[in-house]
């Protein structure tokens, strides 16, 4: 199934990606941001707060925004 995946870390990424049916938010995070902790990010599904166990649906919008973004 397709979801809109947005990562506001680094250069930023915003595009549709394919994920397996039944993929949870936590599983997606582990796939996409493997070297980070989920607690270091604001995670939203369809612009709403969510739990890691939430199962993604076709067409969902998932956003990862780092809690710590360093200014200069």
């Amino acid at each position: 199934m397709k979801i809109l995946y947005i990562n506001n870390d680094g250069g930023g990424f915003a595009d549709e990606i394919d994920v397996d049916a039944g993929t949870t938010v936590a599983a997606l995070f582990a796939q996409r941001v493997p070297d980070s902790r989920a607690s270091d990010y604001l995670i939203r599904v369809n612009r709403q707060p969510c739990s890691g166990e939430q199962v993604l649906q076709d067409g969902d919008r998932v956003t990862f925004t780092p809690v710590k973004i360093e200014g200069a």
Partner: protein, 352 residues
Amino acid sequence: MPRFDRHLWRLAGRLENRIARLHSRTVNVSLDHQEWQRIERLAARMNDIADRPWRVASDHVCWQLLTGLQRLRSGLGTIFQGLPEGGRFLRPPKQKLIYEELVAARDEFDDFVVDLRRQTLSVMTSEVELEGIYLGRFRILLDLQTLSESVNYSVTAESPNRAAARSDVTHPHVMDDRLCEGDAKAPLSSALRTGRFCDFFQIIEQTLHSYNPDSAYASLAEWNDHTTCHSCGDRIPEYEGHYCDQCEADTCEDCCTSCGHCHGSACDLCIEKCSTCDDGFCSTCLEACPRCSTSVCPDCLTDSLCKECHANSLKTNTADAAIPETGADTASPEAPVHAHRLGETAVPAGSG
């Protein structure tokens, strides 16, 4: 289901057109062919002298080659940045998506304000506190008419807690209401180009909640290094404070003065004016006139009196000096007639 907001829908329509203009598919490819040919010649020359013992010449050619390659790499980098990541141009967002983003921003942030006349969109962040320093809330104001420009928003402290050493710094990474974006630069640009206004404000808020001590306009460790002026109550950086020799308190530059006699430093509260010359003096240098008790500086004292009292005392002394003493020679027949005795005249003896 949230209530439909037609004002936001109309704004979203306008933004759809403006954001579409940010999505240009033209790429400017301009390579310096002469520079490349020069590099080819330098490389050939390096190969020619590689087996010869010309170390100085070899180093010089190597330096020229490196410099030329750096220039080419810079030019290629500019072309690279103009192309989309992954080789696919992003589609500009539609009105519906932009509308949903505006609604999300309205629901996520406090004090969401849309000013259609000024074409601005603003939100208030949550309270920011970094390493025990309370900085308060910030208003992020986005100018919707300048989305294509690099600086199109401001970050203004609601109740500024300015750095002691920098009055223009309200946050370690905000100077003159401009955020120095650092790691936030690329995601902010991406968010605006794709109409993700809620993400845009969220990225700025997260940046405000983060502290990078290696690259701050003012460090938090020295944020509150200030004192308070004893005279006017203003906050002043400690290194700008002055010291009053009289009351031993800190004072700002505006409230600091010096005694006109001893030139010691004093605050406004410890300086009084001389009643004669009106200049300022410390309490140590002023003296009270023993006659009228007014404060007088040393230069305005004459015989320990103020000018006025001294002048009055001169008049009194002069008057006293002109009056002779009572019971003296006037009884003698030869005594002269006193001209000041009104109504009296010398009457010779025996006259009648």
